[in-house]
């Protein structure tokens, strides 16, 4: 366990200069076969692994991108991450992931840490869409791609799904099934997904001339707990909704738990559609209808956008991808029950 071998050690052992070793390591050619073999053998023998730190210092690039998500336990993000990693690996980029727990303060620390480490770019679902705390990245000229939530104060590429449209279609579907008392469990309205999903809801009601009833608009925070709580509140209304729309996967889970506990019968007594597909969707009886997003693609696109920006240092205009989500109708939404 001597101190790690350096390029110098390799050079000594192979009886060449460090420049030659460097050439071999980086496959730059212009080295005689025999020399190369001698060097390779020395590397093998010493167990030499080059130091990324030293390399970065000279080259000012790390071939690394940083990914920041608000909650690693929300399955949406690992899925997106898988898409990112896949594309990144193809381009020989390396990915580092950190989770903020929805805390802008932790997010800022992470950003700073990423900058210290010299990431070449960042993909982020920010905990605070205002984005003041992300100015640092801009200052350093580090490309950023926003995923799922946009960033107000930063001109960056963005990959979103059409939250409004997806929700609109879901609500429309419910309306066409005769529902008029449709509740929405909202996400935080200061986030893009939270707000846009609410706007889709609003729009659908408006288009179909259904008055928006404040009692049916209820505020969650994208967490499972809040889905549970909100559902309970809806249940306690003297005039219960006949359909519920939940704004994200975690709240859907809470909601379904509540329905179960309250013995509020899914499908028959209350129809349901949730944003984002969830594992449980097809296990429940009845199966859950959902607005599904192509999570893997979101990750892939995000990386591709970022990679473009990293390679073409030039100034590209801000780009925005808007993927269309898919309404998957299963059995949790039914014609409104005339008996109610």
């Amino acid at each position: 366990m001597e101190s790690k071998p350096t390029i110098q050690d390799v050079a000594n052992l192979a009886n060449v200069s460090i420049a030659t070793v460097s050439r071999v390591i980086n496959n730059q050619g212009g080295v005689r076969k025999v020399t190369e073999e001698r060097i390779l053998k020395a590397i093998e023998e010493l167990g030499y692994i080059r130091s990324a730190a030293a390399r970065t210092m000279k080259l000012k690039e790390t071939n690394t991108i940083g990914v920041i998500v608000p909650d690693i336990k929300n399955p949406f993000f690992p899925q997106v991450m898988a898409g990112i990693e896949q594309k990144a690996r193809e381009k020989e980029y390396f990915t580092i992931l950190s989770s903020t727990n929805e805390s802008p303060k932790i997010e800022e620390e992470i950003v700073k840490n990423f900058i210290e480490r010299g990431v070449d770019g960042v993909i982020i679902t920010t905990a605070n869409e205002e984005g003041d705390h992300l100015k640092l990245l801009e200052d350093q000229g580090i490309p950023v791609v926003a995923v799922d939530r946009s960033i107000k104060k930063l001109e960056v590429d963005t990959v979103l799904v059409d939250n409004k449209k997806g929700t609109y279609q879901a609500i429309q579907h419910l309306i066409l099934q005769g529902h008029e008392k449709i509740a929405i469990i909202c996400g935080p309205l200061n986030t893009t997904p939270g707000l846009d999903r609410y706007l889709g809801y609003q729009q659908a009601l408006e288009d179909y001339k259904i008055a928006l009833d404040e009692r049916y608009v209820i505020q969650g925070d994208f967490g499972e707990q809040s889905g549970y709580r909100c559902t309970k509140k809806l249940f306690e209304l003297e005039e219960r909704p006949t359909a519920i729309f939940s704004s994200n996967n975690m709240m859907t889970i809470g909601c379904v738990k509540a329905l179960e506990d309250l013995n509020w019968r899914l499908g028959s007594e209350v129809s349901f559609i949730g944003f984002d597909d969830v594992d449980i969707a097809t296990f429940l009886n009845p199966k859950l209808s959902v607005v599904a997003r192509p999570m893997n693609s979101i990750g892939e696109i995000a990386f591709l956008l970022l990679h473009e920006r990293i390679s073409l240092k030039g100034h590209l205009p801000k780009r925005e991808y808007l993927l269309t989500p898919e309404l998957k109708i299963r059995q949790s939404c039914r014609l409104v029950n005339p008996a109610l």
Copy 2:
């Protein structure tokens, strides 16, 4: 977007030497108040952020640990990760995560990359328990903690749950409910969890004098697909089992899907217990009985062990943590149906 400011720029602006700036950055004291303030102002003004690369190069430490998991989409790992991150943050360590997709080849690449980056330690659930490809870490003197799967050829700290005991209890429970035709969907037997869970099954049958029936031992690969496939095979037996034990979460999901599709009625026609709690467990009707693990704790312990080793460079003996899983009986296992 000039090139990034360095400590030298700060020093110039504040009219001091770089040594003094360094002292301020690292809170080493011995700097006059006024000087410190001048320096702080300069840092602020320039937006200076120190280069981790340069720092690492000098100090040979990164305050970073690497985490390697086989499948980031399996919710078990994000949960463990959350535990790791939490403790790591407390100790001012930073975490980088990579997923191997169960490929030892990718795993080796990742390891190499981690070493290049100079991680101070590694927490890993390896894709190949033989561990030959992990020798590199040992050579470099980088502490390693194995989680969930042990590593044969490496003397490293290990955090496991008592897979055998957990499974034993589950099978025992089924036996005490009168089941004799109990099937197990195994994980790969060349992994600790796969093998130990099988051994627990075997042991329980033996202790209760039930002959092991090869037809009921069926080989999966921890993937959802295989859970589905295996369940189907069991269904096709002329003498179907009256109970099924699934060796992990993903296979449980596949299994439940299959039961549904086959219209093989959970609880009444076939009892079920799965290893690892899953989101869907409490949504199903009947609710799934499971062997649950304290995932967050696993992560916390793993980090603590690693941290100890990083700080106390000395040679500690290999340590092994064996957490006890908890059998959660819900409604998916019932007294054997005498009608069958």
